[in-house]
């Protein structure tokens, strides 16, 4: 399909009482009321709070289905194949699998993304920001009340080489609309001393990463800040709960740069608990390629998410040619 392909969104007229549209994609259907989202598929039904669904949907949209599996909860989610994407219910849930209730459909990624964006737009009310920490936004609940396109259409930052290099992604400032977040009010806003000899303006560069993160207006949204070939530094600011259980299709690394996050780690396929990881400032750890993880950040914190973006890794792991852990010792 070309980039210009216009994909169809199967949506109803707004409900007379709640004001929201209902949507269909394949044999899945989606509807919401004041508090909940209801998902139906040929073998079953599922219900989850509207806020939880929208916060997860926002990340799945912003991350373009991300790496691997994005579990909205223990039942519903997507699995990225980088060009196509699976949407599933119960596929990665032991009980649903055993009961034969699991169901999956595969779509062109842009096709499903079109529907996801339409749902996110219609079900996000004025004043509700799915990217924000709960303390910083109105609630997701209630009947249809306007929209918040400005919040949900934020673009994920992707530096070409490093933030702050002339011509690359700029550092954040008050003037650009990025004030220091209330929970990082004490973070130093100083700048590195950069002394450049003539002719080397694009090669002698530095910026204050911690100040940059202190001005992030979103949570749980890794953005690429520096690149060594396929090695991507994707730092992010985190507060409250990672809205998804991220199932890895490759090893992912976390370096906690400030404060603390607790990670609940489960088996990627079955959802059985495997470990609880507490990361404090300076801690660094890997998330193996056969787990799913969800983070809990009591205070807004700075997390370095480190990814290897190589397209070949998922297949190497699936074929047993690459280990699910990064180091044997």
């Amino acid at each position: 399909m070309s980039a210009q392909t216009a994909y169809k969104v199967d949506a109803t007229q707004p409900d007379n009482y709640y004001g929201y549209r209902s949507f269909k994609k394949g044999k899945f259907s989606f509807r919401r009321d004041e508090y909940f989202v209801h998902i139906d598929w040929p073998k079953g039904s599922h219900t989850l709070p509207a806020g939880d669904f929208l916060r997860a949907l926002q990340r799945d949209v912003a991350w373009n289905f991300f790496y691997g599996t994005v579990n909205f909860d223990s039942v519903f989610g997507t699995l990225n194949h980088y060009g196509t994407v699976d949407m599933f219910c119960g596929t990665f849930n032991d009980a649903y699998k055993a009961g034969g209730l699991d169901y999956m459909e595969t779509y062109n990624s842009d096709d499903l993304m079109t529907t996801f964006k339409a749902i996110l737009d219609d079900w996000t009310n004025a004043g509700y920001d799915p990217f924000a920490a709960p303390e910083e936004t109105k609630q997701a609940f209630g009947r249809k009340d306007g929209d918040n396109k400005k919040a949900i259409e934020r673009l994920r930052v992707t530096a070409n080489r490093m933030v702050g290099i002339p011509g690359d992604t700029p550092v954040r400032t008050d003037a650009m609309g990025y004030p220091v977040n209330r929970q990082f009010a004490d973070v130093e806003q100083d700048k590195p001393e950069v002394h450049v000899e003539p002719g080397f303006e694009k090669e002698v560069a530095a910026f204050n990463l911690f100040a940059y993160l202190s001005r992030s207006d979103v949570t749980w949204n890794p953005s690429v800040c520096s690149i060594v070939k396929e090695s991507l530094y994707c730092p992010t600011s985190e507060e409250f709960t990672l809205p998804v259980e991220h199932g890895n299709d490759r090893v992912e690394w976390f370096m906690q740069m400030s404060d603390e996050i607790v990670w609940v780690v489960k088996d990627k396929v079955t959802g059985r608990p495997r470990a609880r990881v507490t990361a404090k400032a300076g801690d660094i750890c890997a998330m193996p390629a056969d787990i799913r993880h969800q983070g809990f950040s009591p205070k807004r914190s700075m997390l370095l998410v480190w990814e290897n973006a190589s397209n070949s890794i998922p297949q190497l792991i699936n074929e047993g040619k690459a280990p699910v852990v990064p180091v044997k010792f």
Binding site: F184, E188, E203, L209, V228, M255, S258, C285, E307, P326
Partner: protein, 165 residues
């Protein structure tokens, strides 16, 4: 005035978390702490604390003046504690073949043209541009992590730095 307190670690003051196992092997998480690693490192050892195929994050205890290093690809140095000066130089001749990965240590300062220098404090990230040579200096013990590729100067001592039980 906000009473918020953001907690950063340092060589002098850090707390380490850990892995509480339910049904797994703690080694799978390769869990360490950069301040602890730097505490136990010699100045300018480049100890891997993260590895993803060929890519690594190295942890460096910056103290005094380092040897000169060179690399054929970009690297990025992030100061986690202290203050570090990074001196950059464009060598007169190619020091590292283009296909070679990771940094190399040079025997002495190469001949070339000064590019500039950066004085970086906590949280500051500095580009170590491909094809350059660079040297660190820190008056007091500091901690730097480097985004790079595993190379000649990368040290692996996982069993010593990581949680095993």
């Amino acid at each position: 005035m906000s009473d918020v307190k953001t907690v950063f670690g340092s060589l002098a003051n850090y707390q380490k978390g850990g892995v509480a196992i339910i049904d797994d092997d703690p080694k799978n998480y390769v869990f360490s702490n950069v301040f602890e690693v730097a505490t136990k490192s010699k100045p300018y050892e480049r100890v891997a604390v993260g590895k993803n195929f060929q890519y690594v994050i190295e942890c460096v205890r910056a103290e005094g003046t380092s040897p000169w290093f060179a690399c054929a690809h970009d690297e990025f140095a992030l100061v986690m504690d202290g203050k570090v000066e990074i001196r950059l130089l464009k060598p007169n001749e190619t020091l590292v073949p283009a296909e070679k990965e990771g940094a190399i240590r040079l025997a002495a300062e190469p001949k070339g043209k000064k590019m500039g220098r950066v004085v970086a404090g906590r949280g500051h990230m500095t580009l170590l541009p491909k094809g350059s040579a660079y040297q660190f200096h820190a008056d007091k013990a500091s901690v730097v992590t480097i985004q790079t590729i595993q190379g000649d100067v990368t040290i692996e001592r996982w069993a010593e730095i990581c949680q095993t039980k």
